[in-house]
Amino acid sequence: MSKFKLSDIIAGRWRVMASAQEGGMSEVYRCKDMKKNSTVALRILKKDANLQRFKHEATILKRLDHPNILNLYDFNDKGNDVYQIEEYLDGMPLRESLGGKNNFNLVKTADIVCQLLEGINYLHSEGVIHQDIKPDNIFILPDGTVKIIDFGLARDSRAEDVPWQTDLGVHGTPQYMAPERLDGYPSFSSDIYAAGLVLYEMLTRLNPFDIKNHTEALKKQRYYVPSPPSKINPMVPPELDRVVLKALEKKPSKRFNTAREFKIRLNSASQQPVRTKNIKWEFIVILILLAVFWIILFNLVKVLAA
């Protein structure tokens, strides 16, 4: 049961325009900000959900400002309701479009991941490690803009521990966790690894490790070497294979040093001619040669006959 219904007014300012979308810890409403006459998302913490985590997320998001990062306008923890007022995201998480049957498009894939890496690069320059980069936390707007969401696990390298993680338990999504994260060491490079896995998944529609829980991740993220994406999708150029596998190196020091470096290499690798284009090109050349040959032959026959 959601807390508010259509056209309810929250805190005297936000009118509910659409029914709630349920998450694990929050309900998200599309609202109209009656003061500014704009559309926002109101994300309200569910009862018994982790308040510390929600606050932590808001604190980090509040100081960030980048076109590829979800924009947080306001945070309220006074009174009964704890909520974030965010930019409303039209569109869908990358996870959903990965599930669809749409054709593989190298240019589009590279564009999405390049934007993702721009966002990550900005985060890192601000000293923030996201720690939960995965297709569910990457929103694609209808105009193709990428927005990184969900900063509940993010770590501010300038601050102390993540306050609600002092239990030292293993937090995060095992399918996307870099080996050093599983050891308990936060590192900027872990976001690069996770972005590498997102790219892998976009290229192949598969996560290279079939992982169900953290213990399995401990084994597989550490020891399994993924096969090159082109083995699964022949449309992937070999240079791109190298880029993906470099991001997925087990040792952080062997990966790209920065998200920006990853982006630059991805950009150039995805602009290399793909094999299918070669085939088309060769096919045209053969057709032209055949035509020329035929014309010469035709003229020769005519000359001989004359």
Binding site: L168, V170, D183, G184, N213, H214, T215, K219
Partner: protein, 245 residues
């Protein structure tokens, strides 16, 4: 606060019951369990049920637990262990298998962490000697790390000059936890001690006094041995209990 630290129950319910009886008397706030609830012993289901019923226990997964539920590479297991793993898998109901598979491999509190093997290899590495301890001190996320896996109680300490030593540790010889030092501490095994003393082993960690003490609890070894033989498990798994090795 007083915590009890236990490890390597290994399906020995008779031993677990004696240890829990002792813990109950001791005014304990919580139990820290370093893994391997099952494997080897004849009553895995009862052990899992008992652990699940306790409110104040925090458990991590061990390599045998993982082998029973998961994909642990059992090529490193000896044949007795492997027989027991397969036998245990058949004996556990699906809820118990699910419980074991959802255990984390590392947990911790404000100044300590715990796991089964070692910080750098939480499931499989044995910290027997100084050199393994030295390497693992570098991977400590908190000043104290409780481990299990070797079935032998031991305390390794690293001082502020990064020198590592192994401390004498026996019942009656309590060890003070000192500020700025780091510790890797193994409580020994509840269900299959291997340090020459067949009694169950555990540690009481007094967080106010900053002190750990080792306790040895006798249990009815013959009873467990008979259950092992009745179950058709390898004879050696019964005989080693009396030797404590």
């Amino acid at each position: 606060m007083r915590d009890a630290v236990i490890s390597d129950i290994h399906g020995n319910y008779v031993a677990l019951r004696s240890v829990l009886k002792y813990i109950q008397k001791e005014n304990i706030d919580k139990i820290i369990n370093c893994g391997d609830i099952v494997g080897y012993g004849p009553e895995p289901q009862r052990c899992v049920d008992t652990i699940r019923a306790l409110k104040n226990i925090h458990s991590v997964i061990g390599n045998h637990d993982w082998a029973v539920v998961g994909l642990e590479d059992t090529s490193k297991f000896n044949s007795d262990a492997l027989t027991a793993v397969n036998w245990t898998r058949d004996k556990l109901d699906s809820e118990s298998l699910n419980f074991l598979s959802t255990l984390d491999y590392r947990k911790g509190g404000s100044n300590f962490m715990f796991l089964h093997g070692s910080p750098r290899d939480p499931l499989d590495e044995y910290i027997f000697g100084i050199s393994a301890a030295e390497a693992n001190f570098k991977k400590l996320l908190k000043p104290i790390c409780f481990v299990g896996h070797t079935h032998a109680p031991v305390v390794f300490r690293r001082n502020t000059n990064n020198e590592v030593e192994s401390l004498l540790f026996y019942p009656g010889k309590d060890i003070k936890i000192e500020e700025n030092f780091r510790y890797i501490i193994n409580p020994g095994s509840v269900g299959q001690p291997r340090d020459g003393n067949p009694d169950s082993s555990l540690i009481i960690y007094d967080t106010d006094k900053k002190e750990i003490s080792l306790k040895r609890i006798p249990y009815d070894i013959t009873k467990t041995q008979n259950l092992i033989l009745d179950a058709g498990l390898p004879e050696f798994l019964a005989s080693r209990l009396a030797e404590g090795e």
